[in-house]
């Protein structure tokens, strides 16, 4: 059943103002409807503008194939999988699916559990490279912070990991502070991991900017 995790803020790029939003755990029928009726048409329309995958990546329409509804329903039944959403202005502004059954590759906690972010996406109308004049900024950062919070709550000390889409690699490495571990030849994506210390730095207090 959907649960409120916490109240947050998103920056409305159009007005320059922060707006109240919330993070929820276990996405529900409203989020499914948002994805099917609002996300997917935008993504598919955008993808249709391109004639190959590389061009689709450039336009950040790569995830139009993601079956969020199916994956979220699977997660309800599966041990070790969780879904989260950022909601604002009555709609789903970001989605995340995590897996709690993976292990860290980095010292000093190699082999210990972590929260692996299977899928993370902001709504297509919030994407700088998908639409002209994207609306909300911050959903991705909030979801990364949510994954760290879950990791701490599970006793994993903040450890998280993910495979980044190409256009996001520099943010994960240079701004979020992940370690760029390696290129995963099977997934054809770079694998990033955040240690407990890096996670603590990510959610640092505002007194230590």
């Amino acid at each position: 059943m959907k649960q409120l995790v916490g109240d947050v803020l998103l920056l409305n790029r159009h007005t320059g103002e922060f707006e109240p939003a919330r993070v929820v755990r276990e996405i529900d029928e409203n989020n499914f409807a948002d994805f099917e009726q609002r996300w997917r048409p935008t993504l598919e329309h955008r993808r249709a503008d391109f004639d190959n995958h590389r061009a689709a990546a450039a336009g950040n329409a790569q995830d139009s194939h993601w079956d969020w509804v199916g994956k979220a329903k699977d997660a309800r039944r599966a041990m070790g999988q969780e879904t989260f959403a950022v909601e604002c202005d009555g709609h789903t502004q970001g989605l995340m699916l995590v897996d709690l059954t993976r292990f860290a590759r980095l010292d000093p906690h190699m082999g210990r559990e972590l929260v692996y972010i299977e899928l993370l996406a902001s709504a297509p109308w919030n994407r700088h490279r998908t639409v002209a004049g994207p609306k909300y900024k911050g959903a991705g950062r909030i979801l990364i912070a949510t994954a760290i919070s879950l990791s701490v709550d599970e006793g994993f000390e903040g450890r998280i990991a993910l495979h980044s889409l190409t256009q996001a690699e520099s943010w994960y490495r240079d701004e979020a502070g992940f370690t760029d571990v390696e290129f995963d030849h099977l997934k054809k994506m770079r694998y990033f991991e955040m240690t407990a210390a890096q996670a603590a730095a990510f959610v640092e207090n505002q007194e230590n900017p």
Partner: protein, 163 residues
């Protein structure tokens, strides 16, 4: 679960972030059915899990433990141990692999690969595991030859684990 961030933190960080998209997950260019690859991967996983079953059974026999005794000492369920030993289509939970790795002092990374729990498998590790499984007989006690093979395989796993 409590969010470890404040609204002040969000105001400051979001305002400072570069305006780029930060999606994560498998991209479209690698999604979709790849039947040849999937079939080969599934066959390899089954072969690796046969090796895992042999390894766990022989380690247990080496230490003269029943399935119930191993389950108790490694803090896992008897059913899981039984299925890992005998069912190559059984997907072992990460916790089981972790506990067995810890109990038998075998490299977790390599044991995870043999369990089919990783996306990629080292080619030479795969070859060694398949060869090791092929040499074993399903009998209740270890022969001297099997004991030598077991020791060599565990040593190889742990040597690779250090690399």
């Amino acid at each position: 679960m409590k969010l470890l961030i404040s609204k002040d933190w969000l105001r400051r960080k979001i305002a400072a972030d570069r305006d780029i998209d930060i999606e994560a997950g498998r991209p479209l260019s690698t999604a979709g059915p790849e039947p040849d690859v999937a079939v080969i991967a599934e066959q390899k996983v089954v072969q690796l899990r046969v090796a895992l079953g042999v390894l766990v059974r022989q380690l247990r026999q080496r230490d003269r433990l029943s399935i119930a005794e191993l389950a108790l000492r490694a803090q896992v369920s008897e059913d899981e141990v039984r299925r890992v030993e005998h069912d190559p289509h059984y997907t072992a939970r990460p916790r089981l692999i972790f506990q067995l790795s810890h109990y038998f002092n075998v490299s977790l990374a390599n044991l995870s690969q043999i369990a089919g729990a990783t996306h990629a498998v080292n080619r030479s590790l795969y070859n060694e595991a398949v060869r090791y499984a092929a040499r074993s007989d399903d009998v209740s006690t270890l022969t001297e030859g099997e004991r030598r093979d077991l020791d060599a395989f565990v040593a190889m796993l742990n040597e690779r684990g250090k690399a």
